[in-house]
């Protein structure tokens, strides 16, 4: 069977198939063609990011990774090693988006008392709310404030409809109408509910629409991670 001579037509077919396969691989490897196999559209503002700024290969050769995973299966190792790229982690995001006065920095949610919040929305990870390749700035429902602020009370409430009322009536979608979650805009927080930003405008902004919060950004994101400079 192995020594049987293949007909000429079959050999040509194999060569053509191999060349076509190589062509497809080369096509996808050409810089700029990544969008053809990307999982979805990039977040607004991320269009010029290079894939490798977020998608980083794990260290070691393929053989070492295979061996490590076999050792894991044999209970001789405590962690699996991804064969290709490692998961995108907070440090990848913070390389460009680090801010010294973030109102809700991800690291804070590693504190023990946020166990319930971690169980519900995983706020300790950037990607829990900002799923890349979803075409949205924010991929979580805009009612997430309820997870931590259900008991919010202010002795001297400065706003026209009290926070207590908003919480009691579960109007969680109104939060972002006045508050910038990460606090990165030089804006004065409205004290009259009528001055709050319209829900639709907020929703558009959380998707890919124009900025809704006034004022300059306090810290602009880096154009590229420091590791690339």
């Amino acid at each position: 069977m192995f020594n049987k001579k293949k007909p000429r037509q079959q050999r040509v077919g194999h060569v053509v198939g191999a060349l076509a396969g190589m062509g497809v691989v080369v096509f996808f490897l050409i810089p700029g063609n990544a969008s053809y196999y990307s999982r979805g559209p990039l977040t607004a503002g991320h269009e010029k990011l290079k894939c490798e700024w977020c998608h980083k290969a794990t260290t070691g050769s393929l053989r070492q990774k295979l061996q490590a995973n076999v050792q894991y299966a044999l209970n001789n190792r405590s962690t699996l090693v991804p064969l290709g790229y490692r998961a995108v982690v907070n440090d990848d995001c913070l390389a460009c988006h680090e801010r010294s006065d973030d109102r809700h920095p991800v690291f804070r949610f590693f504190e023990p008392r946020y166990a319930k919040a971690r169980q519900l929305i995983k706020p300790q990870y950037c990607v829990s709310c900002h799923v890349e390749h979803s075409g949205k700035r924010v991929s979580i429902a805009p009612t997430f404030c309820s997870v931590c602020h259900k008991e919010l009370t202010l002795k001297k409430d400065p706003i026209s409809v009290s926070h207590e009322t908003l919480v009691r009536t579960k109007q969680w979608r109104t939060c972002l109408g006045c508050h910038d979650f990460h606090g990165n805009h030089r804006m004065k927080t409205p004290t009259d509910i009528r001055d709050a930003f319209a829900d639709q405008k907020i929703m558009d902004y959380l998707t890919d629409g124009p900025a809704v919060y006034p004022g300059d950004k306090i810290v602009n994101a880096r154009k590229r991670p420091p590791s690339d400079t």
Partner: protein, 286 residues
């Protein structure tokens, strides 16, 4: 299976075994710790002592003395229109933020059962540990299972009048009868390992020192935007409208903290208080 199939299968298995085990390249490292180990509880204790010293230095010698000599401190200190510096709790938070950006994965948090901001109120296991801390006065060590972090909670005391006054007078305070030396809350430290090598110990310690400096540097940056900034140099606020430079502030930390820290490290070596996996929750083994 045909004899030919069995032969191919057997040969394939041999090739896989040779590929994976016999001619294996160096295995991938998995955070293997080489050398003597120190329990993370001992590391936390040293870190907390450094933090206590720096918190006292900032609260008493910068905020307390500064307010008497024309410096202002405000929770909105980051606001460009507010000519003020960070309150002690915000100084700690700035330190924690800087730690977050270091590679050591050390977490530092401040909380209370009566916080000014209700979002900072202890809950769940952390609240139970805080009750135990309040009852016994003993630091509480526990494991946070969902994020696999070792955690140590220490009392945070009202060490100076400004702590008491500010918390009692704040419009949103849930408790207005704090007194000097009350346990107002707790600092909680987290780390993803039960023990560290001496190298890791020093890395953690240096990261914390660097974070203190970064927090103070941020304050000095803000001061430089004041219309009438205090003189920054050798003098301290108790001498007038002055602030110590970053170098002077850092030197004060080192002078006050280094002896205790060195003593703690020396004690581990002298008493052979190395970590042993089978030891009790204090992880000390002679």
């Amino acid at each position: 299976m045909t004899p030919k199939g069995s032969i191919i299968g057997g040969l394939s298995l041999i090739v896989i075994i040779v590929y994976l085990f016999v001619t294996a390249p160096l295995p991938l490292q998995e955070n293997q710790k080489i050398g003597k180990l120190i329990s993370i509880t001992q590391v936390f204790e040293t870190l907390n002592e450094e933090n206590r010293i720096v918190r006292r230095l900032y609260t008493k010698d910068i905020v307390g003395a500064g307010e008497k000599n024309g410096l202002r401190f405000d929770e909105d200190w980051r606001d460009a229109a507010v000519e003020a510096g960070p309150l002690p709790a915000q100084f700690l938070r700035a330190t924690a933020m800087s730690l977050e950006r270091s590679k050591v994965r050390l977490g530092l948090y401040l909380g209370s059962d009566y916080p000014i901001n209700s979002a900072n109120k202890f809950s769940g296991e952390q609240l139970l540990k805080f009750h135990e801390l309040r009852k016994t006065g003993n630091p509480q060590f526990f494991f946070v299972n969902d994020v696999k972090l070792y955690s140590y909670m220490f009392a945070d005391m009202a060490i100076a009048k400004p702590c008491v006054q500010c918390h009692n007078d704040h419009q949103d305070t849930p408790k207005s009868d704090w007194q000097l030396n009350d346990m107002m809350g707790a600092t909680t430290w987290t780390y993803p390992g039960q023990a560290v090598t001496f190298d890791e110990y020093f890395e953690i310690m240096l990261a914390l020192r660097k974070a203190f400096k970064a927090a103070y540097a941020a304050y000095l940056d803000k001061v430089s935007t004041f219309k009438n900034p205090p003189d920054i140099g050798e003098k301290w606020p108790q001498q007038g409208y002055y602030l110590p430079s970053l170098a002077v502030f850092s030197q004060a930390i080192e002078q006050q903290a280094s002896v205790k820290t060195l003593r703690a490290i020396s004690n581990v070596v002298a008493e052979k208080l190395y970590y042993a996996p089978s030891s009790s929750s204090t992880h000390q083994a002679k």
